[in-house]
Structure formats: structure tokens, C-alpha cells
Amino acid sequence: MQNLIQIIVDAVALGSLYALVSLSIGLVFGVMRLINFAQADYITIGAYALVVPTASVSPALLLGALPFAFMAGGVVVVVVVLALLTERLAFRPMRGSDPATLLVSSFAVSYFLQHLVMLIHSGRPKSVGIGNSLSAAVEFWGIRVPGTQLLTMGVALVMLVAMVFFLKKTPMGIQMRAAAENFQMARLMGVKANRVIATAFAISGIMAAAVSLLLVVQTGTLDIRMGLMPVIFAFFATVIGGMGSLPGAALGGFIVGFVTVGLQAFLPPDLRAFRDAFVFMLVIGFLLFRPQGLIVTSAARERV
């Protein structure tokens, strides 16, 4: 029983991390039909902003040396600026291109940023000690929950609630939902395209900053591809949840988290090494049998 609860806690923690990433992908996809794989590099660069650029494997801290609030704020500023720059310089000129072209351009931006990090910080993985105190486990009724997992769940919860509030209650949020559903019509209703899209990128930057901090606290390492796997899994989550649906993206994030942790726990030990292959099979299954995802949106309806 305790073992099962432990697994559920692990699953929720991983799921919340994926949900954060899939929401940021879903938000930008909603207003621009762009699947932004550069989201991975927003996460990576947010994490690298914590340290001084050197070739050393245990670099001195830069933003990471600041008190927590300033460190978090600093990372958010760096990633939001980066997200807005990629929007302005790379994606805005491509606006209106078909989704396949946009996808390819996001790969280009992603590789460019990855190699930029390599140029500045070298390509070697680095260790960075931040939030070590958080790795101590907190015990509830015999269940051990690592502090980092609690933090992940807490951050995800706050961000999900903030996002729902933003989308349902604020003027910009209402305009963004309209734009996500029918961009042309929203523009006729006075929605300013540049502002809505830039806001979506800024929010995806805030979420990426949160994810980069959570990843660094969890793993204590920096790697130029550290954002890649979370983004790939989160992309799967958006496919499962229904491309363009934000509730679907969050739901998909949790599903992928649960499936991953469940496979890790219940697969025969010999097969555990191939855990991710089973997750990928799930996604292929969805693409074959329910390509529109769990929650169908106007983005999917358009195609029929």
C-alpha cells in the first residue's frame, strides 16, 4: 500500500513537471500553430544562467549565488527575454507559414541556441549545487516525499491555477483564448496579433524558467540537452491530450508522468531499461487510433 502511494506521489511529481512544459508548448501552439521545440533550449539556458560561463565542470555560481527570490526572478527575466527574442527575430517573420515550416524553423532555432550554449559554456556536463537542502525527504504517515518533489508539485499547482485565472478572468487571457480558437476572427474582433503572441511566448518563458530551476534542484547537473527530453515527453503529452487544448496538455502531462513512473515500477526488471520505448508506443497508439487526442479542439476540427 505504502509502496503504491509512493509510486503515485512520484507520478504526480513527474506529471506536474511535464504538465508545465506541455502547457507552455500548448499555449504557443494555440495562438501560432507553432510546435516550439526551442522550448527545450529556453529551459537549458535558464539553467545555465545560474553559473558563470567557463569550461569548468564545477563552475562558480552567477545568478545561482543570489538569494532565492532574486535567483528565481533573474532566471525568469533571462528566459522571458530569450523567448521574446526568438519570437521577434525567428518566428514572427515566419508567421502564417504552414505548421510544417514552422516546426522545422523551431528545430533550427533550437539547434542554434544549443550550439550557442556550447560555445559559451562548453559542451561538458557540469555540476551545480543549488537547493541541496531540498533533497532531504519529508515524511508524511510513513511516505517519504523528497522536498524537490513537493516543490515541483507546489510550483506546478500554483502555475496551473495562475494560468486558469489568467485565461478565464483577464482581458488578455480572454483575447488569447479567442485567438487560439480562431485567429482570423479574433483579429477582426480587435485582438492585436503581436501582443497576444508575444504574451504567449512570455508565459512559456516563465514556465520554462520554473522548469529549469526545478530540474537543476532535482538533478544538480547542467547539460546542453537537459531541456530536450522533458520537451519531447511534454510534446507527447500535448498529442495525447489533444493538440491545442490546454486542459488536454495538462492532462496529457500527468498521463505521461503516470505511465512513465508506472512502467518503471511494474515492468519486469529486464525490461525497465526500455521504459521510454513503451511510452513512445503509447503515443504511436494514440496517433493511430485517436489522432485528435483526448480533448478535441478547433485546431483539430479545422483539418476535417
Binding site: 483577464t170 480572454i174 483575447q175 485582438v191
Partner: protein, 247 residues
């Protein structure tokens, strides 16, 4: 003529050709604020093309669109919408996953209102149209007739100077259609704007419009009061042939 230019939306000798096909060949109409005018013509006469030209969706191949005396022929739909040209579409195209009230709020916010004022304007319009009870319903959950009426309400939430309604009563039964027409008749006074009502069914618009333009085969055929237009032999010829075919 110059007096009209102050508060009017006009086409001057507008031509539209798609490849070799002439959808419009020299149409002049003038929409004035403060009244409902009709645009009628048989199916395929070029009515929707003309509305597309007036609202910036279609650039005229030749001729001009003039808004309050200013040439706006090259302006796109967003720019014209901001300048006060609102329109409805034959398909309602509401935001399906948003409530009716938020559909209207999107438009109201788009004109620069803050959230509180946007809510006030949206509710006011819905109540005025007798649709207040639909505020919380999702756009995608409405009946066809309600969807059409809400799309007009949403266009009104932009507070347009000129409102182009493309066959707003199509698919409605006689009673719904009559209801809608009495609402449309009251729009110019209440919202201080001009309305162009596009219809292919002459009966529907006779009681609503002060002035009617008739197009056929992409050309202006006649214009005048509903009675004048109805008595015009050219109009009768163009129309009766079409109506027989449709029946």
C-alpha cells in the same frame, strides 16, 4: 455628395475579377449612418463579393472603397474593422469554447475597453437583443438561430460605424426571421450606425430597409425605396426568373 462623404461607406465603380470571371463589374453603393439599407440580388449576383470588398476581405481589381471620404481600397479586414466597419458572416463563426458573454467581451476589449466596461457593454447588448439569458452558454452549444443572432450581437460589441449583415436570416423560420428583422430595424438608432442588410429573399427586407440596392450579374441593377425597386421592371425580370428556378 460631399455631405454624404462625412458619414458614409461607399464603393465607387468597383470591379472584381477572379481570373477571367467578373464577379463585380462597376458597382456603386453608399451606406449611410442612421438607417438600414438593403442589398439584394439573386444567388450569384455578387452580393457577398461586394460585402467582402466593403470589409477589406477582397481587394477591388478596379475602383475604390471610400470610408468617410477617405480612400481605403487597399486596407485589409483588420484595419477596416478597427476603422468601424463591422460585419457578420454567413457562417456565424462564434468562439465555440467560450461563453456567449465572453464572445462579446472579446470584441468589446478589442475596442479598448477594460474588463468591467466590456462586461457592461456585452450584457447591455445581449439584453437589448433579448438574449440576456444566453450569456453563460458556450458558443458551441447554441442552436443555429441563436448562433446567428449572437454573431450579430458580437459584431455590435465592436460598436461599428457601419454594420454589414450577410444573410443573417438564412436558415431561420418565418417567425425567427421576423423577430430578427425588427431587431435589425432598431439597430441604427440604438447604436448610431449604418446597417447594410444583404439578402436574396426580397420579401424579408422590404419592411426593414429605407433604401435598397439591387445587383445582378455583378452590376448595379437599380436602387431606390423598397417600393420603387419592387416596381422596377428590370428587377422583376431578374428576380422572378430566379425565384421560379429556386422554387
Amino acid at each position: 455628395m460631399n455631405q454624404l462623404a462625412e458619414n458614409s461607406l461607399e464603393t465607387r465603380n468597383v470591379h472584381v475579377a477572379f481570373g477571367g470571371i467578373h464577379a463585380l463589374s462597376g458597382v456603386d453603393i453608399t451606406i449611410k449612418t442612421g438607417m438600414v439599407q438593403g442589398l439584394i440580388g439573386p444567388n450569384g449576383a455578387g452580393k457577398t463579393t461586394l460585402v467582402n470588398v466593403l470589409s477589406g476581405f477582397q481587394k477591388p481589381t478596379r475602383g475604390n472603397v471610400v470610408l468617410n471620404g477617405k480612400d481605403v481600397s487597399g486596407d485589409g479586414p483588420q484595419k477596416l474593422a478597427r476603422a468601424g466597419v463591422g460585419r457578420s458572416f454567413q457562417a456565424a463563426r462564434l468562439f465555440q469554447d467560450m461563453s456567449v458573454e465572453q464572445n462579446l467581451m472579446t470584441a468589446a476589449i478589442g475596442t479598448g475597453l477594460n474588463k468591467a466596461d466590456a462586461i457592461i457593454r456585452s450584457r447591455e447588448i445581449l439584453d437589448w437583443m433579448g438574449l440576456g439569458h444566453h450569456g453563460a452558454v458556450l458558443g458551441g452549444a447554441l442552436s443555429y438561430g441563436d448562433e446567428r443572432r449572437i454573431s450579430i450581437a458580437r459584431a455590435l460589441a465592436l460598436h461599428p460605424k457601419f454594420l454589414l449583415l450577410d444573410e443573417p436570416a438564412s436558415g431561420m423560420n418565418a417567425e425567427e426571421s421576423q423577430n430578427l428583422m425588427s431587431i435589425i430595424r432598431a439597430i441604427p438608432a440604438h447604436f448610431n450606425c449604418g446597417v447594410l442588410l444583404i439578402e436574396h429573399n426580397m420579401e424579408v427586407i422590404m419592411g426593414v430597409c429605407e433604401h435598397v440596392y439591387v445587383v445582378d450579374g455583378g452590376r448595379s441593377l437599380a436602387n431606390g425605396t423598397p417600393q420603387e425597386v419592387q416596381d422596377n421592371p428590370d428587377v422583376r425580370r431578374a428576380y422572378l426568373g430566379e425565384e421560379d428556378a429556386a422554387a
